[in-house]
């Protein structure tokens, strides 16, 4: 047996995160002599996947709130706890990893107890690695988690809480039967998607897939119905029977809503069709990923992609590069702005270059989020400073324990998608944790900053920022580009501008010398090869007006989290 069973993707194991929920069934013979069937669903902890968490919780009757005994409560712990409380679920507090030398079970046990309002002695202490405390935990599950509450005689209603795509079997939907029962070969209907199918195979994960003839009320399992695309079996959808359909689907379904957008381009223009195929394939098991083709004067043909959040964006990008062997360049991430023009039309702008002229804009609104930071209390000042710098307004602060504080700010999503998390981590020595959730749109004084090379705007570098931050962005970008753009035959002005007003300017001075001094002993071949290399190099340059820009300059310039050091 593999050491880790539930985290399937390589990426998950490497990052130590759980992206897709996974489920297993176990039979447990309890101390009372009865054998119980326990279904466990592992949920993602990260904010980007909050909706998946909520659906997983909707499929459960109780939760184990696992807290790392070496790290204590994190922002995600709180988010998931609040979700579980909202769902009305029985909560069992558990400290895991007590085998670690750095574990502080007494301290964190007290914190956890005060958070959920129980006695510190009620907090279970386990090590999933050594097995210590696990029998007690299983006894507690049997004793405290209520039995399934569904109606076995009602029409079938099964909740899809996860789905994955298998290239041989098609979509595998993970379901919890809430009411009624699902039998093999039953004609079914996905209510939200409006798709008819047949239950070709149903089964349980124990922990390997084991086909069964029926999934009864309360059972958790998988369903294979010849569906070719996960968007037809989305998380949150309700499966019912076609012969005796339910009248109402289960509550809580919603379409995943992308929050963060970025242009993704192949570094080699020829790879565009490969990128499209790769995105199509990823989309098969990632309903939240949206994309549409776009083109950029600077970067060529690519896709504007929408993501649930920053982690989702990073994961998609890494999977594209790793699983499809693509070299990619991504524009700076952006959020979706709602723009109302002077003629009263509202539209959503996901690419800065689509922003109308300043004169045509009546109002721009940007998405705000409620940010929760959980941190040792000594960093309160630092965190407040950081949040205030990012246009945040303090909403709430309270102590989870004398040493640990929960701080809540409202701030523009745009301010946190760019290096906020890195800043927070570095300013708190890695102790603070972050979580956020959308809280709607707010109007703001936003402008588009364009970057021009020799008077030609370069679309890839345009960005929408708050007016107060425009100069910083312009100055930073022009300075970076000055270092990255090789000297040309003529002076190249690099300007940052809001509309026609230039706010920052740098110049790449004309190169003065590019000549081979001598031709040694008639060795013309070598000289010609040098020039051929130079010619090849030029072919890889992008022409922006009359300026030749190496592809690498775009990549480096867009890595805003890294200093530019080259010449």
């Amino acid at each position: 047996m593999r050491e880790q069973y539930l985290d399937r993707m390589d990426l998950e194991r490497e990052r130590g995160i759980t992206i897709k929920a996974a489920a297993v069934r176990m039979e447990y013979k309890a101390g009372d002599g009865e054998t119980y069937e326990v279904n466990l669903i592992d949920t993602p902890g990260h904010v980007d996947f909050g909706y998946e968490v909520s659906r997983s919780l909707a499929a459960c009757d109780g939760v184990l709130l696992l807290v790392d005994a070496a790290q204590g409560i994190e922002a995600q712990t709180l988010t998931n706890l609040y979700l579980a409380v909202d769902a009305g679920l029985e909560i069992i507090p558990v400290l895991n990893k007590i085998d670690l030398p750095a574990a502080q079970p007494d301290k964190y046990g007290e914190e956890l107890a005060s958070l959920i309002g129980c006695e510190p002695s009620d907090v279970l202490r386990i090590s999933a690695k050594t097995g210590e405390g696990v029998p007690e935990l299983l006894e507690t599950i049997v004793a405290s988690i209520p039995e399934p509450k569904g109606d076995a005689t009602a029409p079938l209603r099964a909740l899809v809480f996860d789905s994955t795509y298998d290239s041989y079997r098609g979509v595998i939907a993970y379901i919890r039967v809430i009411d009624g029962a699902l039998t093999k070969r039953q004609p079914i209907n996905f209510m939200a998607a409006g798709i008819d199918a047949d239950a070709d195979e149903i089964g349980v994960l124990a922990p390997d897939a084991t086909p069964v003839e029926e999934l009864a009320t309360g059972e958790v399992g998988y369903l294979i119905a010849g569906i070719k695309d996960v968007s037809q079996a989305k998380v949150g959808d309700t499966v019912t029977g076609r012969d005796n359909p339910a009248e109402q689907p289960l509550p809580g379904y919603r379409e995943p809503k992308p929050m963060v957008f970025a242009g993704i381009y192949p570094i080699e223009g020829d790879d565009f069709p490969l990128l499209r195929d790769a995105l199509d394939k990823l989309k098969l098991n990632d309903t939240a990923l949206v994309f549409e083709p776009e083109s950029s004067g600077a970067l060529g043909f690519g896709f504007r992609c929408g993501f649930l959040g920053l982690l989702h964006m990073e994961i998609v990008r890494e999977r594209l590069e790793r699983e499809f062997d693509l070299s990619l360049i991504a524009t700076a991430p952006s959020v979706g702005y709602e723009v109302e023009t002077t003629d009263g039309i509202k539209k959503v702008v996901r690419n800065p270059t689509d922003l109308p002229e300043a004169g045509q804009i009546e109002e721009i609104s940007e998405p705000y989020v409620s940010v929760m930071v959980v941190s040792p209390s000594e960093y309160i000042g630092t965190i407040m400073q950081l949040c205030q710098d990012r246009r945040g307004s303090l909403k709430e602060m309270h102590y989870l324990s004398p040493e640990r504080v929960e701080i809540r700010y409202h701030m523009p999503l745009a301010e946190i998608i760019f290096d906020f998390f890195d800043q927070l981590k570095s300013k708190t020595k890695g102790y603070a944790s972050l979580d956020y959730e959308p809280v709607g749109l707010h109007s703001a004084n936003l402008v588009r900053v364009d970057v021009l090379l020799n008077e030609q705007p370069v679309d890839a570098f345009s960005t929408i920022v708050h007016r107060d931050r425009a100069y910083d962005y312009g100055k930073n970008m022009t300075e970076r580009l000055r270092k990255l753009i090789p000297r040309q035959q003529f002076d190249v002005p690099i300007q940052a501008a809001i509309g026609s007003r230039v706010i920052a300017r740098e110049t790449v001075r004309a190169k003065r010398k590019d000549v081979i001094a001598k031709c040694y002993g008639g060795d013309v071949t070598r000289k010609r090869k040098l020039l051929e290399r130079q010619k090849e190099g030029k072919k890889r340059m992008k022409q922006i007006g009359s300026v030749e820009v190496p592809q690498s300059a775009f990549i480096e310039a867009l890595r805003l989290d890294q200093e530019v050091t080259s010449p």
Binding site: K511, R512, K513, D514, G522, V524
Partner: protein
Amino acid sequence: MTIAIAAPARRSGRWLEDPGFGVYVHIPFCLHRCHYCDFNTYEGQEELHERYVDALIRDVERNVVDRPATSVFFGGGTPTLLAPRALGSILDAVRDSIGIAGDAEITVEANPETVDATAFEGLLGVGFNRFSVGVQSLVPRVLEGLGRTHGADTAIDALRAARRAGVEDINADLIYGSPWETDDDWRATLARIVDEGPDHVSAYALTVEESTPLATMVATGRVPNVDGDVQAARHEVAEEFFGTAGYERYEISNWSHPGRASAHNVLYWSAGDYLGFGAGAHGHVAGRRSWATRLPRDFIAAVDGGTTTESGYERLDDDARAGEALILGLRLATGIDLAGFTRRFGPRALERRDEAIARYLDSGLLERAENALRLSGRGTMLANEVQAALL
């Protein structure tokens, strides 16, 4: 007192539709290898000198061609490490097996520390008529930095000794823009050189070549890299000094008194044919470029064994030849003669490059003058940019 040398066309420094025929002889030995040098040359190996000369002679003798050379060039290395008599015997072989035109330019490179008046007399005596002295700089600190073993006075002495011996055609080789050189150093060197009045000056911007001690010094930060802007400025200073002193720049890095351009140099830039003899020597005949095995030992063994000394070659198709001829010709200050070029390479050669030529005429790096196409003043310093596009 100098006497005008015949064949003024070959010495005018202008592009030649009929470039003549050259012979290059390589002497791959040095007393000491300079820090910047990536030429095919070896310190020591004195035990090979005699056998190498012998092998060279035999190699020349087995390559009989009846095409008298219009220029002969002995380069190195340091040819003057060998005795005038030894160099003379190689030259004799060239004369006997290939032929040397009566008005041919016959050059030998000399390092200042290896030559005195007697040596120059000896070299004149065996048939050399042009001497290229590796002065490089006249500032001790710069010479030391470059890893040269001679002093400034030694270089001046060599130039004067050549004159005293009756040499009528003297070139001084200079290097500028090294990390050890200041603007004043360069001006001081130029002022003294101009005072000495050689007939020809080659002034090369120092290039940091891979796998040289200099490259290591730069890579490890012991020495700053050369600065293209500084070198461009020094080139302008050289223009100013030489122009005032009556020299004409006929090639990117070469100046001469009128009528004293190097015929061998012009042969290269006019894409002419030449044979190369010796270790690592390059030759070019009708679009076939070849090069000899690099190690002196291997070269000797090849001749001894009766096998070829050639270690590689490439054959250029017509268009590649034309492109190469174009980029070489553009190094000459007066550029290429368009009518002559078209006669030699056909009308397609230029037509195919029309778009690139127009672009650079437009941006001012190329210019038209009468029936010539040449680099502009600014284009001269950005020649690679233009040449790469015209290949």
